[in-house]
């Protein structure tokens, strides 16, 4: 198939050697690239039960056949490993320009194995690979690190790096690129840190060959004109995700004070209009037709974003409405290399625990000074920070308050209260990497589109499945989440790029395979139905305010949704992938 470079770069950090090998095209036909193909490699190459922070875990950068082409929203890089936060499979995607550089350097994927004996970074310039000492960079924030490396290598080199959070192996650490873009969740930064790998710089001077470039360019122009830069999508450019603040508040799913309720009377302090009033610039990723990146600057605080998750997490869920504090929180997390969702989730849990007198973490709701100060303690694992970075699941195991620990499988919840969008609860519970909204996003149907009643279990297993199918293809091809076109259009672009005929049904089958394989990885690690759950707060406590006041997800309804989801996928009542499916993966 065209579109691929047909080459994997394998870097052995133990002995500072590297080799190349052909991409496994049998696997590529079944899993395409990005999330799917990355999971396949990690599934095949990792020993079950491996410690995610040991040299035996692997870290893979994976592109797709559309990476480096002008296909809109195709500039994302998938990063795959075993998660230190959850013990599950972990795939993240990061925007910016790194994916395109990997491809132009001549590779579909880069696999990092082993561990450097001293902190170092890898410089990749086409087929020239160098192992370079990073003792002078170790301990520095991601922003400073990237600045130093950009000065050395120039702006046509892309840089992926970790901050102190990754170096200190925090399960809430991320990988940064383009200063403000993150592979954010599941502690992927700690995997890089465990390998003593501070950064990877990549410069590529090659190109990508597609099957029919003329037809593909015409098709892409049509897609951009008719389906991408359209009225329906223009919110991504004008507002970006901050537009969700008002929608989630009105929709009854904006969490308030560690999910103890929803809606916030001060929502206008940090909504899209407030952010627009402090707008400092725009930015887009490579091969993007939308350009959702908005820089916000208030006083000394500046960040790209803040995105909805960070706003809601550091804002209302921590009882804070001051936009400058939210922007500062975003900026500091980015520089330290910390996931804003999990960091704010740990802090909001600590605030509620302190206010309820269960354990004194020294911070209460609304304390905007400590919200920032604690981030530095967390990155260094100093004092109370050492507890907070364990994540809410481990904190609850140590100090209690399990009902207030908002997570699934140890990954802190994104900022949509499932009691106002029942299928969102199922989506968190069955997500392959723990509490996550990027595997299936039913709030878009239950709340934003009002296309299906939100407070019923009826049909929700199928709804979560349908949306998971869509995202599994989207993140395997690999597109940005803002790619809003159907499987049919994905198949059309794939056909023009690769020269192999793809249909909508093919896309559907590939997606199912990816979902089964991710589940098979987790099953091999011991996960099953008992782990597909949400905190008791969601099942037992009704919301007091907002559009979803009076709602919870009754246990019987939750189980009904779960049963239906398993049934649609052909899994057992215990959520096991049967041998008949495993043998086909």
């Amino acid at each position: 198939m065209l579109g691929y470079q047909n080459k994997v770069l394998r870097i052995n950090l133990d002995n500072k050697t590297y080799s190349t090998e052909p991409l496994n095209m049998d696997w590529a036909e079944k899993y395409i690239g990005g999330k799917g193909l990355g999971i396949k490699y990690i599934y095949e190459e990792l020993t079950p039960g491996v410690d995610p922070l040991s040299p035996d875990n692997k870290l893979m950068f994976m592109t797709g056949p559309l990476t480096g082409t002008p296909a809109p929203c195709s500039g994302k890089l998938a990063i795959i490993s075993k998660s230190p936060a959850t013990g599950t499979i972990l795939d993240c995607s990061i925007g910016g320009h790194s994916a395109i550089k990997v491809k132009y350097a001549g590779y579909d994927a880069i696999m990092f194995e082993g561990k450097l004996d001293q902190p170092g970074y890898i410089s990749i310039e086409d087929d020239k690979i160098q192992f370079i000492d990073a003792s002078d960079l170790w301990g520095k924030g991601s922003h400073e690190t990237e600045g130093i490396l950009a000065d050395k290598y120039g702006t046509d080199t892309t840089i992926l790096s970790i901050g102190p959070a990754g170096e200190n192996l925090l399960p809430i650490s991320c990988i940064n690129s383009d200063y403000y873009r993150q592979a954010g969740r599941g502690g992927i930064g700690a995997v890089m840190g465990s390998k003593n790998l501070k950064a990877v710089t990549i410069k590529g001077t090659g190109a990508v060959t597609v099957d029919d470039s003329k037809k593909m360019v015409r098709k892409i122009a049509e897609i951009l004109r008719e389906d991408t830069t359209t009225e329906d999508n223009i919110w991504a450019y004008t507002d970006g995700t901050p537009g969700l603040v008002e929608a989630c508040n009105d929709g009854g799913i904006l969490p308030y004070k560690n999910f103890s309720d929803t809606t916030d009377v001060k929502w206008e302090s940090y909504n899209s209009e407030s952010i627009q009033a402090n707008k400092h610039g725009k930015k887009g990723c490579g091969s993007c037709g939308l350009g959702c990146g908005n820089f916000t600057k208030i006083g000394d605080a500046i960040c790209e974003g803040p995105e909805y998750e960070t706003i809601a997490g550091a804002g209302p869920n921590c009882g804070i409405s001051d936009l400058e504090t939210i922007v500062k929180f975003n900026q500091v997390c980015d520089d330290l290399g910390m996931d804003t969702i999990s960091a704010s989730g740990a802090l909001s849990y600590a605030m509620e625990m302190t206010e309820k007198g269960i354990h004194d973490f020294g911070i209460t709701f609304g304390d905007k000074e400590k919200l920032i100060d604690y981030l530095y303690l967390m990155a260094k694992k100093e004092g109370v920070g050492a507890d907070l970075v364990m994540g809410v699941k481990a904190m609850a195991a140590k100090y209690g308050g399990e009902d207030m620990a908002m997570h699934s499988k140890g990954l802190e919840f994104p900022l949509y209260d499932p009691r106002g969008s029942w299928a969102m609860g199922l989506a968190y519970a069955v997500s392959d990497r723990g509490g996550c909204h990027m595997r299936s996003y039913p709030a878009a149907e239950e709340v934003y589109a009002a296309s299906i009643p939100p407070y019923t279990a009826e049909g929700k297993g199928k709804l979560v499945y349908d949306l998971a199918i869509y995202n599994a293809v989207k993140f395997s091809l690999i597109f940005c989440d803002f790619w809003a076109l159907g499987l049919d259009r994905m198949a059309e672009v794939m056909t023009l790029a690769t020269g192999k005929q793809f249909s909508e049904e093919d896309m559907n089958q590939i997606a199912e395979r990816v979902i089964h394989l991710a589940r098979a990885f987790n099953q091999r690690e011991g996960f099953d139905r008992k782990d597909d759950t949400v905190p008791k707060r969601i099942l037992n406590e009704v919301l007091k305010s907002g559009a979803a006041a009076g709602q919870k997800i009754p246990v019987g309804d939750f189980n009904k949704m779960l049963d239906e989801y398993y049934e649609v996928l052909g899994w057992s009542k215990e959520g096991k992938v049967p041998d008949s499916i495993l043998s086909q993966l």
């Binding site: 919110w235 537009g243 929608a247 009105d250 909805y308 589109a449």
Partner: protein
């Protein structure tokens, strides 16, 4: 009956670029009927959800004197 109407996102085109208007209706009506009066097709996939006084409601709910009706276009992603 006076109802304050707030259009979100690109739906402002139905108010010639303005986001807010106060509309007067001669008789009681549902949100669906008000949406039609504004010129928006209630069945359009571009229409998202509607909220009255800051809370999401179903489109066939009735409007009351003094309500603030907010109409969202369809949005996705997060």
């Amino acid at each position: 009956m006076k109802v304050s109407v707030l259009l979100k996102g690109y739906l402002v085109k139905y108010f010639e670029g303005e986001s807010k208007r106060v509309l007067c209706f001669d008789e009681e009506l549902t949100i669906r009927e008000a949406v039609k009066v504004i010129g928006i097709d209630p069945e359009s996939k571009s229409l998202g959800f509607v909220a009255v006084n800051g809370m999401r409601v179903m489109i066939d709910e009735p409007l009351k004197e003094g309500d603030q009706l907010k109409i969202y276009p369809r949005i996705s992603g997060g």
